[in-house]
Symmetry: C2
Subunit: 412 residues, 2 copies
């Protein structure tokens, strides 16, 4: 794309109340715009980055046969009353509103209840199981404070997956499958080396759940780990019983700050029982459905990646999720012509900075925006029929011939 086509400009200042490094850069680089605390618009570059993460998740879930759909934000109280999560004492992050025709509604903070209630229409017999569905859907959570940029917001994009099985054994198989899918996802978005599957509290659902935690100095969680035994656990379950369960001693554990980027829960009958989601088994007997839920905060993952890799010049995106892979700057008339040709052919990969500005300003913007590679074509490089490539992450530079460049672009 040509930058001149976009209305977005990099900004000198971020809103004064932004404290997270990633939030400051995301605003300044034109990825997001703040509507109010914890509520952000995704500008073109930000939306493209978010969609790249979304598409990786979608690909990996579809690959193992998951079904995508989309439920609603507006929530009927019925199913939430049955599980006793309608009351704000039990679920303190509700946004509630009212129908003008009369009656209270909520804005979905998660979708176990409506998902379970919906499946009553489709699950009747053991023949209808196993079943699953997932969605990319906007959640609303009335957080008292919002302060970590897009890492913790009041309105955010979440991937939530729900599974429905005949029994625990069948459920466990799916649960393990999704564990593996999650590892692949974190690896593909660039967090593979620093993200750990972590024992966490099962809450009201089961003894444990699993979180995926990315090591991050400003993370909200503290995790304890033993590298030799490959054991990681959240501080919230650091007690004698759990240590005995996991076969590890307190003094064998080291701690670090981390940010949760996903979680998976065995729900058991927690929702199917109050909502009466059941099936007829092969003997004609009624049985409750065994459920699981699996979440990834998509916009939160984007925030964690921004926070994790940003340096003192700005954002640094992993290649697979960057909105564009190359930031192209042309210096001189012939170079501009060549640059336009390249952008035209590879408009999905190249962000061409064709604005009427000094190269130094463009270089600074390319660093602030965190595009993985800066490409400079000047009349001087053209003499050698080449372009200068600079990696955003390492600063490493090399001269590529235009043929080599086209070969790389064609392969992506």
């Amino acid at each position: 794309m040509k930058l001149s086509q976009s209305f977005v400009k990099t900004l000198r200042d971020a809103p004064k109340d932004e404290t997270a490094k990633s939030a400051k850069y995301l605003v300044r680089a034109g990825y997001v715009h703040k509507e109010l605390a914890g509520v952000y618009d995704f500008l073109p570059l930000g939306l493209k980055t978010l969609r790249n993460i979304e598409n990786i998740i979608r690909e990996e879930l579809n690959r193992v046969g998951c079904n995508e759909l989309q439920m609603t934000a507006l929530q009927n109280p019925d199913s939430w009353q049955k599980t006793e999560r309608w009351n704000s004492d039990r679920m303190d992050i509700w946004f509630k509103t009212e129908l003008s025709a009369g009656g209270e509604l909520g804005l979905g903070p998660t979708h176990e209840e409506p998902g379970t209630a919906m499946m009553k229409d489709y699950i009747k017999s053991y023949k209808d199981l196993p079943a699953n569905f997932y969605q990319f859907q906007t959640k609303f959570r009335n957080e008292l404070r919002a302060k970590s940029g897009i890492m913790r917001t009041r309105e955010f994009l979440m991937k939530d997956l729900y599974s429905f099985n005949t029994n625990k054994e069948e459920h466990d198989k799916f649960y393990h499958l999704i564990e593996e899918v999650y590892k692949k996802i974190y690896s593909r978005v660039g967090l593979g080396d620093c993200t750990y599957q972590t024992f966490a509290s099962g809450g009201a659902f089961s003894k444990y759940s699993h979180e995926f935690q990315t090591v991050l100095p400003v993370g909200e969680d503290t995790i304890y780990y033993n590298a030799d035994k490959s054991i990681v656990l959240n501080e919230e379950v650091l007690n004698d019983e759990v240590l005995a369960d996991l076969g590890v001693k307190r003094e064998e554990l080291e701690s670090t700050k981390a940010a949760e980027v996903g979680n998976i829960f065995s729900l058991g009958y927690k929702f199917s029982k109050p909502l009466d989601l059941s099936y007829t088994d092969q003997d004609g007997k009624k049985q409750l459905v065994y459920m699981g839920s699996y979440g990834i905060g998509v916009s939160r993952v984007m925030g964690v990646i921004a926070e994790k890799f940003a340096d003192d010049k700005g954002l640094v995106w992993p290649e697979e999720i960057a909105p564009y892979r190359y930031y192209l700057v042309a210096i001189g008339e012939n170079a501009e012509k060549k640059a336009e040709e390249l952008e035209k052919q590879y408009s999905e990969l190249i962000l061409l900075d064709n604005r009427n500005m000094r190269p130094g300003e463009k270089f600074a913007d390319s660093e602030l925006m965190g595009i993985p590679y800066r490409l400079v074509i000047s009349d001087k490089t053209l003499e050698k029929n080449s372009a200068e490539l600079t990696a955003r992450k390492t600063g490493e530079q090399k001269l590529l011939t235009l043929d080599e460049l086209v070969a790389i672009l064609s392969k992506v």
Copy 2:
């Protein structure tokens, strides 16, 4: 895709309170699930259809250089108070809610106000214009009654585009460009022959706006038209002044029922003035930005298409938006093997009904679901190395050789 992978089943009955034909079929065929009146989940087939419409709109807007982003549902009252649309007397379809930290919020029914306020960060000088952005975003409207299935809902997917220009002349050019883009979009989604650009009230914004109206017996609007003069107008502006403006007499007009599938507005300074969105012109003088807005209710368009083409057997989707183009039924063991091969290779085009059911039931489901072509492969057709193709719309049947079939599938 293989139908066995999906949890969705066709249902014998639709909810009793559904009156629209399309809503009954969409529920029964497993495209949508009703959460409450005017609030629908999009099940896998429904989401795929919706996305096909969305992608056509996106392609056509991107082609003319529009910028996609995504704003938020949660709305700060500030900008709405400045335009006097916060008060429910002025805008009676607000859903409002409250921050637990204190303060009222609204759920965006449209985005002129936040969009105008946001652009104050990016538009400073005439050099920053023209500008535009669009989004596919979930709108919330607290309709008193909701009765037309997904044609009029309380939560729906809308494409809204906003334009920002230095003056009316520059705006008019963009407005005409979008008129043409809209015609292309309606043509591509299958509504080209029956959708008319219609003079309508400009509301508080300007003398006229344009609506795109699809002729539909159960439509909520009445339009008047003169085919010879290519004039179409909404009943709401059928008065002497307008007739004089358009140069047509009352008795030269015929009327019909229609459903609005899009609208375009010249907003002028209606929003830029109260929100002070201005730019410095070439002489260093401050000028207000001239605005326009352009909407398409994406889920509504899907509902109108469903309603328009459905027959007594079920839905009938135009090819370009159908979730799958072929509904494949195999009869006999060799046929099943061949069918699985085809589905594997063309899984985006083929919905393979591999459920353990009689062919007649499968045929009925394929008709209910409105998939454009039914393909039957049986051991009998395989003897002739062929498959039987039946068009959903016309019932026309023909025998294709498998080579011909593969040639067609490869070309889509």
